[in-house]
Each structure stands twice: as structure tokens, then as C-alpha cells.
Symmetry: D2
């Protein structure tokens, strides 16, 4: 109910930050897919920490292991289960937070919710859990790509006040991957990198915006009313750690336009009648238009900085607190893969749902 | 699957814009509630068109009728069903759009999805459907208010470039309801009103931002991972017609801050240790903090304006098109009730879910 | 959650026995179906009371009314809603049971569950609710018949000790409908009729067994593990009022056989290799074999008889009680349509589910 | 959707008979439970093969391993995941069935459903999967016992024609466990044992009936209409491999009674007013009465016997076939634990559901 996502491509993740393994069960994976485990590992590697001097030095090999659902390299239509054995956990780094609640974290709320919490590494609230989503999304990526030619690509659009100048439709995977910030605007990427290192040195953290585009999505995917494509996308994004905002198409900026300027009209081209613009961002009334799906997501600055903070402990007393351990000053580069995953999982679910009732 | 929302407070709406009736079935309404039908009617009246010279002159009496679930004024725990008989439908206004697809509407996408569409008034894609949600939300409002003292209040925060100057915690229901724009900043409300009338005269439309605050929500409501409170809120909002963006707490603005400034620290007060700020917007890790829930939603300018537009028809030909009929130049005042409903339905569902597993 | 059934062909029913209307919302009905409302009314008429001297004299016209989802006679893929306005309710017949709990009924358990109950006609626990299921099942019947040539036919197999001698594969609709008992064995039907009238005269009631067969079901429908076709069938049947048992294929009798006799082997025929028998009853491992689906269901004798009974009242005191009003001495003839509905709804849901993931 | 069960105590199992591991994720396990892993292992050991000369000699150590959800011995409210590493698999025993479909098995139907099948040990259709359910049920058993004093006990009621003479309310765990057949009637147990050995010698198999009783279940658990307690029980049982029938309370036998004899009346006792009988079997209208829950389930004779059978291969040709390997001549003793699990999982889900909406 809470640790699951999707109606027909349903995933269940399990993970405690410092537990023996994290994993995901995919219930509803189409059968007869030849699964490329290397592509999954590659997606996972894009998410993992320790990829550059900008991210945490926590080393996680994140080697996937298949527990069920694969037979001679093909999916069988039965639950497809992956786990990652956990390594390199420095649980003692968390001893100091056992009895207090870190600001900006879910420590206090989990304790209120469940009356118990695994304080080591944030327990279930840890962003470690997203590795499980990336795996399931990577399986979806293969399916959507092979069956429909769909591609999904995320990028860092802004770090603090540093905004990339990009045209979503033109961004390439290589541009994104060519720098540790995952910003396709190479000049801005350098400035972002400099900023992040400065902030890291100061023991502080930054946030920003991640964009994501999905191409070649057939017209007619999605559902009316509650499970609109944009609604499920928004939910998938807001369920990512540290995400505080979501936009599709023109988003908040579009609210400055008049209706006559905002509506995407049609124009005749050599390829026939086509949309003239894409303020909609790829959906109308919750259903895909056939244009690219374009979203933007806000990620707050990382809560784990290294400056002294005031907070409360279990006894309700005010205490001073300072983080220890290894943490990213900026998660945006890694969040790129998470936002892609959110879009991939949403599309995959609606691909199957649309097929079922049509 | 698509016409339903909620896990334990599950609602199913049904509505065709020009059909004989619209309605909602609430499955999971707690028993033994003394239901005040007048309060439901009052919420519904805030949503309905024709409330002022700013909204469409379409008259809808929107009288609720209870079909099941009520016994001697009390809920029985069995499905609570409401319908509204439809009136004042000018279906002939839509004859001209029978074979073409209106820009900014779901006409073409529904046709792609289902291969058939009820063109009259937008069919199922019509915002008429939201009346059904308002009813279910109003029942939830009574429950949340009576059981927990929770209040939920929305307001118009911005119309096009006109931004209200308000402090969410201070806004009152009377301020919101004292002008037809539903903007608690009375000076700005006047400017908004002027703008909307100008835009209406020009045959055009405007969009903007609706804010909403929920107070007295107990700490510890919500779920980890996928069904985070903010994720379900985002979904509920993005499932509203014309909604293009969602923020919680600091939202997109918060991404300009450093982590040290963004984290909500604690301070000692006369009432004991308290949060010093509410950048989180009322949740951490998907679970309520006990602070107010504060969200903001972007509504695109209304798609139905009265200027000539280029679009395509069923034959794929480019055609010129101009809307007829009665339509709002700005839906924000009415959207206030919808955003409140989105928050109320989400809170109600999580109230029951939190109670079940604790 | 409780008033819903189905994953993709999802129905929600609402009904209070003596409320203003009962109804059903079908969420997931395929679009572009030309719906024959007369066929639905005909199915409904087979369920309704007052069809013969064997059933209750309560008159219900049970006229269906469509509230949404139909456009120019075709389904639109949006929620399809039906209601039946209630008539001929003699609520005063229930005044005497307001404060006591009728034996064999859900009076006491509902009161324990919800702390409130609508005592008139059993409230939500009334078999009136099944009319709503019959409507949804009848829509499914049209779809399954039109798309796949599937037929579903129930019959009364036994009344108390009177067992019909029939071969399920040979039973015809006309045989079933040719007598008020709905038993295709005409001789036995007469004996059953005599028995029922005797029992009625004695103020008592009888139970029995209803069989049902589904033909032309494609091989490969259903799901592994939890949502096996037989599991969903069992649930659908046991959710019918008064149903106490379910069997598929060889059922309880088959447990007397050895494995070598029970396994359905294959044999060469003029039409190629075929199953030699159908002990399985149409499924293996939860998935349809392509053979006929054959089930049997036990219905307890009607709880509402007219002899004096000992029971308790709300105060916990022992009281004597005698039913008033109009009630069937035997519901089996009407239950035939309910068991058909259980099978139809299950098949319809799995038709859509199988199509989605394959 | 298919590999999951439960609404609030939701379990997802994964298992390929000869895969690297089988497992279960429990989503919705209450937090703060002190979990006794030895009790889980003990329940699992009751299910596993190789317990006596009556069962298959396949050795499975079935050692559980916890992957998530446990912190210092207590559940955290986050997903509780168990796996069992697989051992002692003789996959070559299944080489001969790679291209043919075993009678009585799901080989052909899975192939029709998915277009691919893992032929080794039946793949996902293997009864191995039930080990995962037993684990989840054993967690539920601890909760239901600790919180409510509920006990659930199954027994072998009949093997072929050999019927135990027992009074469900009187059966004890020790009686059941005192013989390898798990029949509390010790004399009959001996006859059953003799029969099973004879049948085994003949290369054949037998089926029978398993009973199960749940005690101390509070009044008022369950749901109206579709998710009746008996409906969910029936589904849980029919989802067990080889199960062909289900009864609650008086079941099929009860249909021979008149209503006046079947209704459970009340009588005054020293402990106050009480039910005089339990024909209902513990539920009325889908909701628990407070009396014991009594069910009976039919298990067909094991499909894997060692006599020659006619079947078809992938090419559609008729072929002769004979099983190899190690298989139980009678699964009833092991099925006892599975039927207990079906009841435990159903009760656990409804315990949480009832608590959420009341």
C-alpha cells in the first residue's frame, strides 16, 4: 500500500539503509523480454554515489542479483526480483543520532508514525531505497525502448541560481553524461561544479531543478480524472527524497500567459498538420498528446550539511547537533536518474493499462 | 482504476458533462458520523459557476441528493452515494466541435485513447466532474474537523502577474470569501478583478496560482516511500483540470537556499521546543510534522477563449475554430475549492491509513 | 475496498435495502460497445422477486436507468453508472427487529462492525444489492459473448435432498428457464416445486446447490498464485448472500479418486488431440484450460422463516422472535442468476487483465 | 496484481521452483512487534517436505533469512522481507518435460498465458511458492495471538474415503502433530498412513479434505458485500495448489437442512446469552460472529503420480509420459499448514482493515 507503486507494472521495494540487502519485486513485467542485465547495471551505476569528487565518497558496488522471474535470459511473466547486497556501511557514524532527530530528515516523523525507527543511515527513509526503483525503471526502459522506441532523458537544469540554457528537445545523453554535474550546458556545468565544490568546502549543501523529457510516446496513453498521466508523474516525482515541486510543460511560468498564447495550436508542415508548440508538455486531460513529455522537479538543498544545528531529542529537549560521515553536497546529478525512473515507471504502467482497456 | 481515488477513503466519481446526472460513491466513510448536508451544499456552492460576474453565466443549481449510506442522518459505514441531477445544458453549443478537436482540451487525446468521445461539454473530461470530488471532500472536511480540529483553506495567490501579499498562517476564511476572486489580499483582489474583466472583454483568459493550507494535522500521518503525503497531494492536485504545477513548502523557491538555511531548526519557546520555520511545508519523508501543510498549485489560463484558433479535425485537416457558449475567463476562484478538496481527500485517506497500521 | 470488485473491470455497488435507489458504477468498461439495455433488463428480471408463486410476492419493477458512460448508445470508456429507483418497500414490517438481531442474518455482526445499522430490510446486507451486480455482469455478458462467443449458464442442481440428473455440457438456457425452479431436469423440477410449496406452507425454508458452466473461454486466462481464476470465482461466489460452499470441477467428490484417475489425460480425436475428461473444471494452476469452466455452490436454507426463534436484543437479553413480511422459501432459482453473475464478472476482469500483460 | 494478496497486510511472494531463492515481502506489518524467528522457522518446518516416510524425500533446509524490516529484533513498520536460498534441486529430472505438458499441472496453461515457461519443477506454479506464504502467515500468527489471543489450527479431516471422527472445537495442536498424517483421530491416522503407503507403492496418489478452525476471533471483523470474511477465506484457500473446494460452517451438508434447523439460535447459559450452534461457521453477512471460524477444503489427489499418462507436447502431438523424481503421494499433511496460512493471512488483513474504519 505504501511500499508499492503502479497498477499493472507494480513494484514493491524493500530497503533499510544499513540492512543486509535492498531489493525490488516487479509484479507485472511482460513475459518473453530478453533482459539485458548490463544495461540495468549501467543505469544503476549512474545513480550510485562515489562517481566523482562532487558526490559522497561512500562506496557502493551495487551489484544486482536476480532472485526470480528470469529463465534462460528471458522474463517469464512471473515476479522479477532483484536484490543488492549491502556493503561499506559505517553504522557507527549514526550512533550520535540514535536519540535525536536530525533537521530536514524523516527521523522525527517516522518515530511519530511507527513508534520505532532504525536510526542507522535513515533506515527506510534513506535515499538508498531509490536504487531499487532505478532497477525496476531500467527494466521498463528496455521494454518501452524496444516496443515503442521511447526514450527518457533527464538533466540538471539549475543548481541554486545557476540555470542551464538548453532546449529540452535538443539535449542528448552524451551531453548530459559528459560532465559530473549532468548539465547539458557545458559552460554552466563548469560553474555549477565550482559552486558545488565551494559549498562542499563550507560544509553546506545546495539544491536545484532537474528536468526530464520523454520522446516518442504514442498518443492516447493515460487515464481520465484521477490517474492522469501528469498526476501519476507528479506523484512519482514527489515520492523521491528531497523533491519539493513538480511542473509539466509550461508549469508555473505558463500561468503568466493568456489562454490565446498558451493553447497549443496546429500548423501545416511538410509532414502534415502538427502542433505549433508544446506548452501542454505532452498531455491534455491526463492523456498523452504524442508530443514529448516535459517535466521539471525541484530538489531542496541536501538536509545533511556539516554545520551546527538546533534540534530536539527524544526527550523533547533542545540540543545542538552536527552531522558526521560521508554525504553529497548536491544530489542533483544523481537525482537525474531518479527523475528518469519516475517517468519510466509511470509510462510503463500506463502502457500496460492503456493496452488493457481500449 | 482511473475513476477512483484513495486507498481507504475511496471515492469513485461518474460524470458526463451533459449526461443526466453526476455523482460520487464514497467507499470507506466512517460510520456514525452525523452528516450536515447543508455544509456539503455550501462547499458545493463555492465551486459552482455563476457566483459572480467573473465566472461563467452557466447556471447550475447543483442540488445534492443522497442515494445510499445514510440512516436517520448518520453514516452507516456502507457506501455513501450522492448525485446531482444535471440542468441547463446547452448541448447545441457544442455541435460545431463534434468533428474537430479544441486546442488545450482533451478532445483529441480522449479520441485517441477510447476511439469515441462525447463531445458535448467535454464529456468526462469536463471540469463538471470536480463537483463530485467537492462533495466527497466536504464529507471528509466534517470528519477531519470534528475528530481532529483540522481546517483546510485555499486562496488565490496570483492571477497572471498579480501576486497577493499574504502570510499563509494568517489567512482567514472570511478574507478569502469577501471578494469574488477569493484573494485574501483585498487590494490585490481588486486589481485581479479588473484584470479578469479586461481579459474577459478581450475574449481571452488568464491563469495563476492557488495556495492552500491545512492546520492542526497531527504529527505522524502519511507513508514512507511511494505514498508520501506530498506525493499523494501532488497527484490529487495534478489530477485537477488545468493544473500544471505543484509545490510544497519552499517548493521551487527553496532550491535557491543553502541546506543550512533551508533545514527547519528548533527553538525554545514558552510552549516548549518548536520548529523555527516551515520550509518543509508540513512533511518530512512523506509524513506530517505537525506543522501546517502548505502547498501551491499552478493553473494554466483557461483553454476555452473566444479568439480564433487553428486546430485539426477528425479528418486530420487544419481548420479554424472559435468557441461559443458560456465559459470562465479565469477559474482560479472556483479552483480554490478544488485544491482544498484535493488536500481534504488526501488527508482523509491518510487519517484512516495511519490509524490502521500503527 | 469492500464495496468493490475486480481489478480492471471494477465495479462499485451501493444499496440500502430500503433506500431511495440502488446502483452500480462500472469503472473499466471497454469503450465502443453497443449496449443492449433490454438484455440487461432481461437478466435483471430473471433475478427479481415475484416471478412465480415460489418466490416472494414483493414486487420490484427494477427498471434500470443509465446515469453516465453511454453516448448515443455506445460505451465511452468512462464510468458506466446504473441505478434502480426503489419501490414497494414496507419498512414498517421491520419495526419489530429494530432492537433485536435476527438469527441467520447479519444484524448483529453489522452492529458489532459499525456500531450502527439500518435495520430496514437488512440495510446494506440485503440481497437487494445483488441486483447491482447482475447489471454489471450483464454488461460483461454482452462483451464476452460478442468478443469471444463465451456463454455462461447456471442452473439449480439440488434443492435439499432432491438432486437433478444433468450433464452440465448439455444443459440449455431453455431447459433452465422452462420451469420456475430453474432446474433443467424437468421431472426433478416438479418434485422440487412440490417440496418448496410444502416447506413454504410450513413457514420454513430450504437450501441447495446451484451449478454454473462457462463455455468457449479461451485457454490462457487467469493469473498465477493468488488471483487464480478459481480463487477469484470462489471469492465471487462466497460473497453472495447465503453462499456457504464452492467447488470447481471434481470438487469435494474428486478427493475420493486416485491421481491416476483424476488427471485429465489427452486422447486423439477427429478434431486432433483433446482432453479426455474435465475433472479440473476448466483451470489448471489458476489459468483456463480452454475446457468449460464448471462450478457448484452451496446455498444455505433461507434465514428468514416464519417459525418462532430465540435470539438476543441490543440489551443482550434472550427474546423470542418471529419474522413478518414477504420472503422466499427458497432462493435457488434467483441465485442462478447471481452465480452466473459471479462467473461473468470474474471472467470479464480476467479477460482485460490477460490482455494487458501477455 | 496477481502475486500479491491482502489490502493492508499485503504480501508479495516470488519464487521459481528451481531459482536461486524464494521469498516474500510483507507490506503493512505493524511496527514494534518483537518477532520470534524460531516460531516462523517452526511453522515453515511443518510445511517442508521430507518430514516423514509419507512425504517426498526432497530435502529442503528452508532456512529463513531476513532482508529488511527488522531492527534489533523488532518490526519497524517498513517492508519485512524474507528469503529462502534454494538447495537440493535436481533440475535434470525435468529435462523430459521441457517440451511436453504434464497432465494435472499448469504446464500448458502457463505456456498459453505467457508464451514461455520455466519447466523446471513447475516454475512459478510450483507449490514451493507456498513456503513464502507460510512465513508471512507465521508473522501474522504471532500478531493475532499476542494481540487478540487468536489461535488457528488445521488438521487432515479425510484422506480419500477415510474420514476422521473429530469435533473441531476439541482438536489440539498436539493431537494433530502426534502423527505424520496430521489427523487428530489417532485410529484413523493409522489407517490413513497405511493407505498412503499402499498408494505410494502403487505409484499413485490420493487427495482428501483439510479442516481448519480459528478461535477467539473478535466479533465484528470483516466487510460487507464483496470482501466478506468467508469470500476472502475462500479465495485464499482456492489459491492454494490442488485445492478444488471450500466450505464454511455447515457448507454443502447444511443445504440438506431446513432454515428453522440451520439458523443458529440463542440460549441462556451461566455465561449469559450464547449461540446454541455454529452452522454459520463464524460469520454472518461476511462479518465475524465471535464464534469459531470453521472451514473445510478439498485437495485433489496429487497430479504427479508415477503411472504412464497420455498428454500432448508443444507440437500438439499425443505423447506417453511418466513422471520422474521425488514427489508426495499425499500432500494433505503439509497442506494443513497452508490452510492455516490462508486463514491467518485473511484474518490479519481484516484485523487491520476493521481497525481502520470503525
Amino acid at each position: 500500500m505504501t511500499n508499492q507503486s503502479g497498477v499493472l507494472y507494480k513494484i514493491t521495494t524493500f530497503c533499510d539503509s544499513h540492512g543486509p540487502a535492498i531489493g525490488v519485486v516487479i509484479d507485472g513485467c511482460p513475459p518473453q523480454m530478453k533482459l539485458d542485465l548490463d544495461r540495468i547495471q549501467a543505469d544503476l551505476n549512474r545513480r550510485k554515489p562515489g562517481q566523482s569528487h562532487l558526490t559522497t565518497s561512500r562506496q557502493e558496488s551495487d551489484q544486482i542479483e536476480v532472485l526470480s522471474g528470469l529463465f534462460e535470459g528471458y522474463t517469464t511473466g512471473t515476479p522479477l526480483t532483484f536484490i543488492i547486497r549491502q556493503e561499506d556501511q559505517k553504522s557507527h557514524h549514526y550512533d550520535s543520532v540514535k536519540d535525536l532527530f536530525r533537521p530536514g530528515h524523516a527521523d522525527k516523523t517516522y518515530y511519530a508514525r511507527f513508534g520505532i525507527r532504525d536510526h542507522r543511515g535513515g533506515g527506510r527513509a534513506s535515499a538508498r531505497e531509490t536504487a531499487a526503483r532505478v532497477i525496476a525503471a531500467s527494466v521498463a526502459r528496455q521494454y518501452l525502448s524496444d516496443q515503442y522506441g521511447i526514450s527518457v532523458l533527464g538533466w540538471v537544469d539549475r543548481v541554486a541560481h545557476l540555470k542551464a540554457h538548453v532546449e529540452p528537445e535538443q539535449i542528448t545523453f552524451d551531453q548530459v553524461e559528459s560532465n559530473p554535474v549532468r548539465c547539458p550546458d557545458q559552460d554552466m556545468a563548469k560553474q555549477m561544479e565550482t559552486l558545488i565544490l565551494e559549498v562542499k568546502k563550507a560544509g553546506d549543501t545546495v539544491g536545484g531543478v532537474v528536468g526530464c523529457i520523454g520522446k516518442n510516446i504514442p498518443e492516447g496513453w493515460g487515464s481520465p480524472v484521477f490517474d492522469k498521466l501528469e498526476a501519476d508523474l507528479a506523484k512519482a516525482c514527489l515520492s523521491l527524497p528531497a523533491c519539493k515541486g513538480f511542473e509539466i510543460g509550461s508549469g508555473f511560468e505558463g500561468t503568466y500567459l493568456r489562454g490565446s498564447a498558451h493553447n497549443d495550436q496546429w500548423v501545416m508542415t511538410n509532414q502534415g498538420a502538427q502542433y505549433q508548440s508544446n506548452h501542454a508538455g505532452g498531455t491534455l486531460g491526463g492523456i498523452s498528446t504524442g508530443q514529448s513529455l516535459v517535466i521539471r522537479t525541484a530538489f531542496k538543498p541536501v538536509s545533511t550539511h556539516f554545520l551546527t544545528q538546533s534540534t530536539v531529542n527524544k526527550a523533547g529537549e533542545l540540543v545542538e547537533f552536527k552531522n558526521e560521515g560521508r554525504h553529497d553536497p548536491c544530489v542533483l546529478a544523481r537525482a537525474v536518474v531518479l527523475v528518469e525512473s519516475a517517468m519510466l515507471l509511470t509510462l510503463m504502467d500506463h502502457a500496460l493499462r492503456t493496452r488493457s482497456i481500449r
